[in-house]
């Protein structure tokens, strides 16, 4: 039995399998351990464990997996802002800009704590904290450079939450001791719009349009692309530039709707996945 042949076969029917296997943080971590054990264990048992890990929670409606995914991204953001505030370049920013970053940082840290509580409260195990790759951070040699990454992280965060909303649909309220009652979908939406406010503000700090108009200095980065790119001008089958009676420009059409990213897209090395590391 050749393990890699099986992966190849699987990728024929599920093009996303490599994304599932190598980009989901929790899977990635467990993979190392499982791989080591596999050398000693029987192949079928290994494969069963392996695939149940790869696919665990990727079906719609597992709030534990969804909130752990959100938690992973919030860990990344929270660590990034902590690094930013600790950086020697922070003092070069205006008092107003420093205050904005501190404010955003507090929100991300609060989101981390809330999501950890939620994951535990619904019977899951919170993911191991991830950090923003130190080497990448070290390459950001000015406050302005750091702010570029902040914009990419915030805009990606908005797309990531939006991409999971449908998976939380219809999930019943959960009551968590010491916290209160949470409607999973509504909680995710309420964090989603805060991330959008952050994104708008960071873009504005950088002299960009607060919305993704497509002509910003970073708007052509991978973070704005994907299967459904931010440049999309057709919504629910309606072309917004030509199908609404009044003609609109592609710029206004794309800026008036934000787009989703899938889990695999968010965690790809070209987006948030590439920023995770020691």
């Amino acid at each position: 039995m050749n393990f890699f042949n099986i992966i190849n076969k699987l990728s024929e029917v599920d093009p996303d399998v490599m994304g599932r296997l190598d980009t989901r943080r929790s899977v990635f971590n467990s993979l190392n351990t499982v791989s080591k054990r596999a050398a000693m264990a029987s192949a079928p048992a290994f494969l069963a464990a392996f695939f149940s890990k790869a696919y665990a929670g990727t079906s719609a409606g597992d709030p534990k997996e969804i909130f752990n995914y959100a938690l992973t991204l919030e860990y990344l953001e929270a660590d990034f802002y902590n690094k930013m505030i600790a950086s020697p370049f922070f003092a070069t920013a205006s008092a107003l800009d420093q205050a904005a970053i501190r404010q955003i940082s507090k929100h991300e840290t609060a989101h981390v704590n809330l999501l950890k509580t939620v994951v535990s409260g619904i019977g899951g195990t919170p993911v191991t904290p991830v950090t923003f790759k130190a080497a990448t951070f070290a390459s950001l040699t000015s406050f302005a450079k750091q702010l570029e990454v902040a914009q990419l992280l915030e805009d990606t965060g908005v797309r990531a939450y939006k991409g999971r909303a449908g998976d939380l649909q219809g999930i019943n309220d959960v009551t968590i001791t010491g916290v209160g009652t949470i409607n999973p979908l509504q909680a995710a939406l309420q964090i989603h719009s805060v991330e959008a406010r952050h994104a708008a503000h960071v873009r504005f700090m950088r002299g960009q349009t607060p919305w993704i108009s497509g002509n910003g200095d970073l708007d052509n980065q991978e973070h704005y692309k994907g299967a459904i790119p931010e440049s999309t001008i057709t919504q629910s089958g309606v072309n917004l530039t030509t199908g609404l009676g009044t003609p609109y420009t592609a710029t206004d059409a794309q800026a008036s709707f934000d787009e989703i990213l899938t889990v695999a897209e968010v965690l790809a090395p070209s987006r948030a996945g590439g920023l995770v590391g020691a």
Binding site: A100, V179, N183, Q190, V194, R197, H198, H201, D252, F257
Partner: protein
């Protein structure tokens, strides 16, 4: 000005909300069968009981199910689009320098809201509610403060409305569409707030500043009845909107 746009009761209600709000219509029957739901059931009641502010004069109901939610969004987008159309005609906007950032911001937002309204009208087709007639007599379109505080109120209201209505949507496609729009509304809200007071893109009137509650550092949502009570103050007598099924 801003005070008249905000429901006085919203903040006071916030603490009590989780007691009776989270029980969705769809889960009502599930709760009805469970002993654990008994308390919640009592608190939920069986009828909408506090829409006194919107019944007698209401002439437009958004309808039921997903069409109801989409019409609810359409009503709010119509109101926003009409507001910004007036802004662009008013003395504040026309007096701005051609290269002023505020001019570009309002011109862009006006187009986004018009696209949203036109999109819902097209998507809803024969199910769409009528074109609403606004009443902006409380707003001074020649005055920067009046325009900005009104814009802030509309944008914050829009975000709170979408966030609070997501749970009423049954078709995932529509939920995603609402998600695509609400983040743009949040971007609008953030920038308008920054124009009023730098760094106020998130403040404790729209975010729960607790770090430990169930809604820690989350945006505050509003249910349709709360939202429409405010929205209706900017609609003509012939265009008051209700969402009787979205409770």
């Amino acid at each position: 000005m801003s005070d008249t746009l905000r429901p006085n009761s919203s903040d006071d209600n916030q603490g009590a909300q989780p007691l009776y709000v989270p029980i969705k219509r769809r889960s009502f029957f599930m709760y009805a069968g469970a002993t654990a739901g008994a308390t919640a059931l009592l608190l939920t009641g069986c009828k909408d009981d506090d829409d006194s502010s919107i019944d007698a004069k209401t002439t437009v109901d958004v309808g039921v199910g997903d069409v109801g939610v989409l019409n609810y969004a359409y009503a709010l987008e119509q109101l926003e689009a009409a507001f910004y159309a007036e802004v662009l005609k008013g003395g504040y906007f026309t007096g701005l320098a051609p290269a002023a950032a505020e001019r570009q911001i309002f011109a862009d937002i006006a187009l986004h809201e018009q696209i949203h309204a036109d999109f819902f009208k097209t998507a809803l087709a024969g199910n769409a509610i009528k074109a609403l007639t606004p009443n902006f007599s409380a707003i001074n379109f020649g005055d920067r403060t009046s325009v900005l505080t009104s814009a802030r109120a509309f944008e914050d209201l829009g975000v709170a409305a979408y966030n609070g209505a997501g749970r009423f949507i049954t078709d995932p496609k529509f939920l995603v569409v609402a998600g695509k729009i609400v983040s743009v509304e949040a971007r609008h809200a953030a920038i308008i707030r920054d124009l009023i007071t730098p760094n106020s893109f998130v403040a404790n009137d729209v975010i729960d500043f607790s770090t430990t509650s169930a809604t820690a550092r989350q945006e505050r949502s509003k249910l349709p009845a709360e939202v429409l009570a405010v929205a209706n103050t900017f609609l003509a007598e012939s265009s008051k909107v209700s969402a009787k099924s979205l409770v």
